[in-house]
Amino acid sequence: MMRARSSARKLDLRSVELRSLIELSQVLNASLDADAVLNTCLLTPMGRMLISRGMALTADENGSLGVRILKGLPASLAQQRFTFEYAFRTPTRLAELPDDVCRYKPFLQSLGIELVVPMCSPSRMVGALCFGGKMTGKPFSPRELEFLNSFSNIAATALENALMFQSLITVNRRLDRKVHELNTLFEVGKELNTALDRERILAILQHTVMGQMTVNKLIMIEVGEDQTIEYPILKWPERTELDRILAEKELILSLSELNEARLLTAEEPAHRLLFEAGVRAVVPMRLQEETRALLLLGKRLSRQEYAQEDLDFLSTLGNRVMVSLENVRLFQEALEKQRLEEEMAIAESIQQRLLPRTFPSLHGIEIYGLNQPSRMVGGDYFDCIPLSDGRVVLAVGDVSGKGLGAALLMSNLHAGLHTLLQSGLPMNEMIKRLNDLIYRHTDFDKFITFFYAELDPQSRLLRYVNAGHNPPMLCRSDGSIGLLTEGGLILGMLEDVDYMIGQVELRSGDLLAAYTDGVTDARNSADELFDEDRLAELVRTAARSDLRADELCTQIVKAVEDFSGDLPQADDITLLIVKVQEKT
C-alpha cells in the first residue's frame, strides 16, 4: 500500500515535470527575445528547486560567455565574461569540474555558485545557466539534474533562435543604415549638382553631417596652398572649447597632411589637445588626391563612438562636397574673367574713340594712321589734329606696360595734349609741361615715349620734338632714310626737363613713317625681331609705290603680321604715315 502510494506520487511528480517541460517549450519557442527566454530559464528551476541565486550567460562567436541576467547576485557582475576550457554538455556540479581546466572555478564558488548548466545546440554551447545551492541545503538529486538537462536542451534551441533573430535585427538595422547612407549621398549629390553658391553647399554639408551623425559640433577648416587657414563652418556651441581648438594652428596644419579619416584618442600625444577640446574625429576633404580641407567633429549626442562606417560615409560626403566647392570656385573665376573681359572691351572701345578716325585732306600730302591693339586695351597712342591756322599736329606715343593701367595713362596723355594745344605755348614748352604732368601723376616705373610734330602744309616744314620715342623714318625720294631724333628725355621720368625742337623740310616723293616698337619688336617663330632694317626696307618700297597712304599703312602692318605668322601679337602696333605726293 505504502509502496503503491509512493509510486503514484512519483508518477504525479513525473507528470508535473513533463507538463512543465512542455509548457516551457511552448513558452520558450514562442519567444524571440533572448532575455525573456533566459529569464524563464532561471526562474523555473529557481522556483522548483528553491534556489536563491543564479545567472544566465550567452556565448559570443568566440565561445566566450558573457553575463546577461543576474538573480540574487551583485549587479557588478554584469560586465563579467567567462570561458570554460572544459567541454561538458550536461548539468555539472561546480565541485566536479576539474580545477585545472576551469580557472573561474574559485571565483564562481566565491559567488555561491554550485551548479553549471550548459545550454548546447547540436553544434556549440549557446549559453550557460549557473545556479547557487538549494535553500534546503540538500544536494541536487540525479532526477533534478536530469530535469535540468532536458530543460536546458529545450531552452538551448529557443535561445539560439532568439540570438540569431537578434543578430538578424542588428544586421538588418546596419543594412537599413547603409541604405539610408546611400540615399543620403544620392540626395546630397543631386542637390550639390544644382548648387552654384558656396554658402548653399556648406549648409548642405553642415545639415547632413549633423543629422546623420547626431552631432552638433562641427568645424570645417580650409587650408590654402600658402597655409592660410579659413573656417567656412564653425558650429561649436561651447565657446571656450572652440577657442582652444582654433588656437592650435600648428596642429591643424599638421592634420592637413592626413589623407584618411580617423578617430582622435586621448592616448596620442600629438592630438591630445584637440581631444581635450572635444574633437573626436577628423575627416580630410580631398580633391585630386590632395587634402584641401578638414572636418573636425565633436562628440556624438547619441553617445556612440564614430564607427569606421561613419568615417567612410563622412569621407565620401566630404570629398563630394569638395568637388562642388571647386566647381563653384572655377565658375566664379570664369564669371570674374568674363566680367573683366567685358570691362576691358568697354575700355577698348573708349580708347579706340580717343584715336583719330578721320584724317585731314591736304593739298599734295596724305596722312594716315593705324592702331592695332594686342590684348584688347593697350598703351599705344597716335593722333592727328588739324589746327585752326591750317597746320596739322601729328603725335605718336607708347605708354609703358599693358592693360588697363597703360590705357588709363594713355587717355591722360590724350587729355593733357588736347588741353595744352589750347595754350598757344611753343611746342618744346608744351612738351615740357606734358612731361611734368605725367611725372606728377605716375610712379617712376610708368613713362611714355612720345613723338610730337607740327606740319605746315604750305611750307611743308615739319617741326618736332622727340621725347625718347623710336625715331620716325623719313625716306627721301632718293631712297635715303633720315631719323627724326631731336628732342629730349621720355615723358614722366624726371621733372623739369628741357626739350629741343627739330625741323625738317618735306619734299615731293618723301614718306614719313612714325611707329611704335610693336612694329620693330614683333618676333617670328625663329625668335627673330622684325627690327628697324626690315621696316626701313618696307618704307623704302612704300616711298616708291603709287599706293595711297592708307593702303601703304595697311600693307606695312600686314607685312609685320605675316612676319609673326601664327604667334600671338605681343604688343600694340601703331603706324602713322605722311606721304608727300610727287609733283605732277
Binding site: R173, D176, R177, H180, N183, T184, E187, V188, E191, R200, A203, I204, Q206, H207, T208, V209, M210, G211, Q212, T214, V215, N216, K235, P237, L301, S302, R303, Q304
Partner: protein, 127 residues
Amino acid sequence: METFTIQRQDKDELSILNLSGFLDAHTAPELEKQLDQLINEGRSKIIVNFANLNYISSAGLGVFMGKIETVRSMNGDIKMCRMTPKIFRVFDLLGFPTLYDIVQEEEEAVQLFASKERSSRRADDRA
C-alpha cells in the same frame, strides 16, 4: 521639385510647427530659418508635428541637431509628434529617440511641456 511647407501656430508659450511635403537638403534651410525665427522671438517651447511630412533626409534631421542646444539653453525643448512609421524609421535609425522626446499625439507633447513646467515650479517653490 517637391515642395515643403511649414505652418506655424502659437499657443501661449508653445509654438507648433506643422511640416508637410519633403524635408531634404534642398528644403532644410527653410526649416532652419523658421527655427531661428522662433529663437529670435525668444520662443523655445517648440512642438514639431510631422503628420503631413512625406519625406525626411539626414539634412533635415541635421537642422534639429543644430538648434537643440540653443533651444534647451533657453529652457525650452523641441518635442516631436505624429510621425508616420516611415519618418520615424529614419529618426530611429540615426538614434534620435534617445535625444528627443518623440510622442504619438500632439497633446502628449503639450503635456510633456506642462509637466516639466510643474516640476520646475515645484523645484522653485522648494527653493
